[in-house]
Structures are given as C-alpha cells and as structure tokens.
C-alpha cells in the first residue's frame, strides 16, 4: 500500500510517528500551519514556526524517506486580533518560494466571527496575488455547517481563485455535498471522537463517490492517530473494495490536487514511483 497524508501536524509528533507512517506506506505528507495550543505573542514567533515548517520538518521527514510539504498562514483560532493577524500575514510572502511550500493554509473560520472572516478574506487575497493553492479548515462541531457556507461564499467573492484549487477540509455528512457541488475539493479528517471515523469516511466515499475527495489524519497534539489513513484503507479493503479504487482515494486523489502546486509537481514523479526525497 502507498498513501499520502495531506494534513498532518508533524511538529507535534515524535520521530517514532514518522517511522510508523513510513512503514505503513506514507510517501508524502503535507503540513498546514495551525494553532500551537496557545496564542503566540509576536509575529516573530510565527517566523520561527514558518522556518520550522520549511526547513526542520522536511529534514526529519527525509530521514524516513517521506516527502514533506507545507502550507502557511495565521490560523483562524488566532485571527480574532486583526492587527496581529496582519503582522503575521506580512511575513508569509517571504516563505512562499521555499521548496516545500504548496500555498496558503489552513485558513478558514473557527467561531464564524466577523474578524475571522476578514482575516480569511485577506489570506485569500494573498493566495490570489501569488496564484497559490488554498487549504481551508472548517469550524468544529456545531459551527461547521454555517462556517463551511461562509467560507465557500468568501472564496466565490474572490473570482480569480478557482474552486478546483481550494481544498475544504474536515467535511462531514452535512457539508460534503455542498462542498463538492461547489466545485471544491473536500477533505475528510479521521478523528476518534470529532470529525469522521474511518467507517463514516468509507460510507461517504460509497455514497458521494471518490472524485475530489481525500482523507487525512490531521494528527496533532490532541487526540488523533497518525495511521488513520491506512486504517481507513483497511476498512475499505474489508468491505471488499478493489485495491485500485482504494489507491485512487488515498494516493491518486491527493496527487491530482497537490500537483497543481509547482513545488509538488516537481517531485510528483519521484513520489509516484516511490523515490525518497533528495
């Protein structure tokens, strides 16, 4: 089995996790910038974080033959202070040309507030200016459906961004159809208690089809499992699905979306045939 985990917060994981993921067939992963569990007190703290995402983590991943890519932003949980968010957003363009940067993410909404929405719109402007791919975090639990709709509206208000270059993550049964009908890509995050279980993700694939959908572990410092993508693949196998159809979901789909970013396209062939990063 080969797979790509397109959403994994490896700065929060141990080196053992890289080894387990490599053993399970992980060829590449992408790491969106996110909330550290506390609010950073300066834009310089983000500069350090962006350095970690663009130099330290790729080196750790390389040790296990895994290609590491990243997305940059100030996450919606720290976006209530618009002035602070703008300071951080000014730092982002410095890093966009680094060899493992795919685009802007994970931007989005958390509590669906006006300030969060403003910061989301300004991130989308950066993405439009730099023609970057976008990875979007949708809110948790009771806030998800409303937030997903507000996010799709914000993207539509930015006509230079093609929905086919935007991945809307953490979809569930009540948001997945609207996301796909809008021409966006959808990500299913496999979490034990919140978001999707492996069984529900398999149900969604069986009922909504496999086009423009991927699965990810979103493993971070909270309750999460870095092996949840291969675990979901096992569920699909146990249901009798064809190995090629499973490969389509856990490998070819993320390849197709991510290849739209030049940084990924350059290494797509190596990832496809299983060459480790140079």
């Amino acid at each position: 089995m080969r797979y790509i985990d397109p959403h994994a917060h490896m700065v929060s994981r141990t080196t053992d996790d890289y080894e387990k993921m490599a053993l399970a067939g992980c060829r590449a992963l992408t790491e969106p910038a996110f909330w550290a569990g506390y609010d950073r007190c300066s834009a310089e703290g983000f500069r350090d974080y962006f350095n970690q995402l663009t130099s330290i983590e790729p080196a750790r991943a390389r040790t296990y033959g895994i290609h590491h890519f990243t997305w940059l932003c100030i996450n919606p949980k720290e976006a209530e202070d618009v002035g602070f968010a703008r300071e951080v957003m000014q730092v982002i363009p410095e890093f966009l040309a680094k060899g493992n940067v795919l685009g802007i993410g994970e931007i989005g909404l958390n509590k669906n507030s006006k300030n969060e929405l403003r910061v989301l719109e300004e991130h989308l402007e950066i993405a439009a200016q730099h023609q970057s791919l976008v990875l979007v975090h949708t809110p948790h639990l009771e806030d998800k459906q409303k937030g997903t709709r507000l996010i799709m509206e914000a993207v539509r208000n930015q006509p230079s961004i093609d929905p086919g270059r935007v991945l809307i993550d953490h979809v569930e049964e009540h948001t997945v159809k609207e996301v796909l009908d809008g021409g966006f890509w959808g990500g299913m995050t496999l979490y034990p208690d919140t978001k999707c279980t492996a069984k529900r993700a398999a149900d969604i694939l069986e009922t909504c089809g496999t086009e423009r959908l991927w699965m990810n572990s979103a493993c971070d410092w909270g309750v999460s499992n870095p092996l949840s993508v291969p675990t979901a693949a096992l569920e699909l196998r146990a249901r009798g699905h064809h190995p090629e159809a499973i490969d389509h979901v856990i490998f070819k789909n993320p390849m197709a979306f991510l290849k739209q970013a030049p940084a990924f396209a350059k290494r797509a062939e190596a990832i496809d045939v299983g060459h480790p990063p140079e």
Binding site: E80, K114, L141, E142, D203
Partner: protein, 95 residues
Amino acid sequence: MNRLDTNLPRSDVIDRDFLEHRAKLIDIAAFLDRCERADGTDDFRLRALRTAIPLLIDGQPERARRILESFSDPTSEPIPEAPGKGASGAWEGSS
C-alpha cells in the same frame, strides 16, 4: 474501477458492525442514566442529544447528516466577536 459502490450484503454489514454499535447504544443509555442520577438539570447539550435521538428511528434516510444538522448553528450571519476558541458540540440557541 474508481467507484466504491456498497459491495457487502446486509448480513455481512451486520456481522461486521453489530456488536460495536450495540455497545455504543448501551453507552448512550448508560450516559443518560448517569446524568439523571446526578443532581441538577439538563443543559443545552443534553437537550440537543434528546432531540437528536428520535431521528435514529424515524424511518427516514441520511440519519447521520440529519443528526449533525440538528446539533448545528442554523444561523447564517457572522457573529460580532468570537466568544472563545472552543466548540461544545451543540448549538446553545437551539433549545
């Protein structure tokens, strides 16, 4: 080839998943018993759970989607200010 149509006969689905979901149902029952043994009153989360449970047996399809929607904020305008960072799992204004 890329479609993942439902392949298993219903008897196989039941064989694979019955015990797991039987246990989850008993967990819900025990949780409600535990809440009722404890002093105090229901809050909006427990009321939301009680509202969602009948959707399991109303005979209509897409139960997962409809239960998720029953826990969701149905409004459409952004709120003036984020009250904090967390989410509770049910919309406080829903009951």
